[in-house]
Symmetry: C2
């Protein structure tokens, strides 16, 4: 795609450097900015830069935070003895949306994946172990997606915590709500039978 | 979607104010910026602001331009007597991509649409008439998409230019290359029969 303006072409290039934004979409976004008042673009740019320069990671749970300790960790309403271990902050947002969790989090940052060169020391396992060793934590819920990397990570963490008497659970694996049995893969379906739940009548 | 960071939430808000970008996509883009170096965000922001503040419209054809006269209008290789009339700069980019047009352009900015309150005086028809009156132009190609608004605009412009001897054509309407006849709408198919082209053998 060729443009008769270098300014335009640089702006399109910027947007299309973002994941999932192609040249056509980038052009559409730039033309939208041109249709709007200049201060709309200036505000947007200022907010992105401010966010990138000032955002921190919570020193306790490594969630994204405006302060040294995030809103969740500093809330008096949250149970500090219950920790949900997640891969990244997208998982925190998803779990918060459910409204079913009232503990705090621990963000690993990634999962162990030897194939991608990600070892246990590359993710925040040592930090989790030291949080457990501080004796504040009673239960850990592993909210890690079921995959080879996820299972490896859970197994490694559980070994690392074998000296402690903290209780470890994983989120339930099973057929999705509204999911059809015939479309569930055999591992999910197999586990949902093994982990069957007593029907209360 | 709720975030534990105001900075994050403002950045997501900014991205999702763009057309076609929802909250989930906006979050994905912001998390990408967080994964990259801060200067990536700063560069992007600077380029968008620079573009928005400095971009001009070509004083001749109203294409987007870095200077008072755009690259196309100021090129010695382009035929200034042949003007292609388009709705917006996206159309210019599409036509330039074909590599089949060597004249110059005139950007109307919109099409006449009484239902949306857009009259002939809201689009750049007067400017086109004065370009024609300056006697430089021999032929006008209306590259306007076939719709009620497009046909109205073409009709209005042709009336406004009836005093001049400039030749006016429209781009050919017909079945797309590779298009199946059975899927073509009846107006397109009807026109493609009326405007049939002699087969050279």
């Amino acid at each position: 795609m060729q443009f008769s303006s270098i300014l335009l072409s640089e702006a399109v290039e910027s947007f299309s450097s973002l994941p999932g934004i192609g040249k056509k979409t980038a052009l559409r976004l730039v033309l939208h900015l041109l249709d709007e008042e200049p201060n709309m673009t200036e505000n947007m740019a200022a907010k992105l830069v401010k966010m990138r320069q000032n955002i921190k990671h919570c020193q306790r749970c490594f969630n994204i935070s405006d302060n040294d300790i995030c809103q969740i960790c500093s809330s008096a309403k949250r149970d500090k003895s219950l920790v949900c271990v997640v891969r990244n902050i997208k998982d925190i947002i998803a779990i918060e949306e459910t409204g079913h969790f009232f503990g705090v989090y621990h963000v690993l940052g990634n999962l162990i994946s030897p194939i991608d060169g990600i070892g246990p020391e590359d993710i925040r396992i040592a930090e989790l172990v030291s949080r457990v060793d501080s004796k504040e934590i009673k239960e850990i819920i592993m909210a890690i997606s079921p995959s080879i990397e996820g299972e490896t990570t859970i197994f490694y963490i559980s070994k690392k915590l074998s000296h402690s008497d903290v209780s470890i659970s994983t989120i339930a694996r099973g057929v999705s709500f509204g999911g059809e049995l015939e479309y569930a893969d055999e591992i999910t379906l197999g586990r949902s039978i093994i982990s069957r739940v007593k029907y209360e009548r």
